[in-house]
Amino acid sequence: MIRIKSMSIDEPGLIARIMNGEQDSYRILVDRYKNDMYRHCYFIVHDEDIAEDMAQEAFIKAYLHLGRFDHRKASFKTWLYTIATRECLTYLRRSQPLHLDEDDLVPSTLAPTDQLARDSELYNAVMQLAPRYRTVISLYYWHNYPYTDIAKAMDVPVGSVRGWLHRAKQQLKEALS
């Protein structure tokens, strides 16, 4: 098993090595982004175990399609977020179709860890949003995705992203008023 000091390797170089057959080097990327990925997935699927599965799936898919990754267009992390977002949304679409079709709030029970949120009131409100609203909030505010990248990640027009973001904030406002 290859153990490499992860910080000493630039990402394009690391990916080139992986592409060149050093499969175990991929471990560095997994370690580097697993928590970010897990949290991002959690915001969308709202379940710790599923979030972990989605994060893992994203890593696997990223590996299998590493040949398509172009570091000049986006960072690996951004690309990974895109894959993870799609994985989560696909999962929700398959398992809970109503969640994506309804604009209504989705009731849910928060895990104890959720209560550790810095702004727990806002956090709870966000987690009550429909998955696609949670997703745009997460990507836009916490991962600094531009609209176009969110649209790409969610496979929807940019206009939808703007609309969802607006509606998400409206719902948050109502929930917190």
Binding site: K34, F43, I60, T113, L116, D119, L122, Y123, Y141, K169
Partner: protein
């Protein structure tokens, strides 16, 4: 709304405190390995007749390459270990430095294609797989080799952990009548693999008839004469003989039923279940598509589709 905007922007919400352990990384890496192997295998077998059209095949696989890659995938995913070999014919010259240890520790396994049927066979020295020191042979290695060889058959493929046990210098030879064959059974046996896979040839090749081990014995038929397997390798290691005729044909009514597979054994040790388990493992993973079925034919037809020098015939299990 501005307040919401401000709270979202200025006070980022902390996600769940839980962080993923090293175990997650290990599991993910294992999944990456397994999935990439399966993906590769799917691409490989998708080039086979009757396989799924869903994916672009790497190239059209030879039957032997299909056997080899399938075994490799089974070995790497199901944990079943294989040693694989094909009959090495007299002109194969693999007894001459078939494995070279390079100054950097890498091992170069020379592959000779002279005996492959109907193939354009360049000089033997141009074919080799180079294995990094201490590294296992991976499906990627095989794929690279296969890509390089296009339609050519592999004479033999050595899998994970086999290489270190392979002798430097010569390969054991077996004489049958006036013919001499290089057959590294004894060496491969020493590797302790679960199965040895013998991929035999089709019509027109020298070795055309092999039976699978059944009950307490197994036999090879060489030019019509049965040869006890134990004579070839007294250690009685488990041996699975694979016949690939089915790759080129539609499903046969002679396909072994599951209960028949389960009855297969060698030297008192049941092997059918293991084989079946290994196959099913891959089947499960690959969602029972046509490519798998095609691959399954590799295994399930091997007994009753075994071929004699005089033509195809039914193998008679030993009593």
């Amino acid at each position: 709304m501005k307040d919401i905007e401000s709270r979202l922007s200025e006070a980022p919400i902390r996600p769940p405190r839980r962080t993923l352990s090293a175990h997650f990384t290990d599991r993910t890496m294992q999944a990456v390995r397994t999935r990439s192997h399966l993906s590769l295998w799917r691409r490989l077998v998708s080039g086979l007749p009757g396989a799924s059209k869903g994916e672009q095949p790497m190239h059209k696989l030879s039957k032997t390459a299909a056997v080899a890659s399938t075994c490799a995938i089974l070995a790497l995913t199901a944990g079943t270990t294989f040693a694989a070999v094909q009959w090495l014919q007299p002109n194969a010259k693999v007894d001459q430095n078939s494995i070279t240890t390079l100054p950097n520790g890498n091992k170069r396994v020379w592959i000779n294609l002279e005996s492959c049927q109907g193939q354009d066979t360049p000089a033997p020295s141009s074919h080799y797989i180079e294995i990094k020191a201490g590294a296992a042979v991976t499906p990627q290695d095989i794929a690279k080799y296969l890509e390089a060889q296009c339609e050519s058959d592999l004479l033999h493929v050595l899998f994970k952990d086999v290489i270190p046990h392979y002798p430097k210098g010569t390969v054991p030879t077996i004489k049958f009548g006036q013919d001499q064959y290089y057959f590294p059974y004894a060496t491969l046996k020493a590797t302790g693999k679960d199965f040895m896979v013998v991929d035999i040839g089709l019509n027109g090749e020298t070795f055309t008839d092999v039976t699978v081990p059944v009950d307490t014995d197994a036999r090879f038929y060489l030019k019509g004469k049965p040869i006890a397997l134990r004579d070839l390798h007294p250690g009685k290691e488990l041996t699975l003989v694979v016949h690939t005729k089915a790759l080129n044909q539609a499903y046969s009514t002679e396909t072994l039923r599951p209960d028949e597979i389960n009855k297969l054994s060698l030297n008192g040790m049941p092997i059918g279940a293991s084989i079946k388990g290994a196959i099913e493992h891959v089947y499960d993973k690959l969602e029972a598509n046509k490519a798998m079925q095609s691959s399954g034919q590799l295994w399930t037809n091997l007994v009753k589709d075994a071929k004699s020098p005089d033509g195809w015939r039914q193998v008679t299990p030993l009593k």
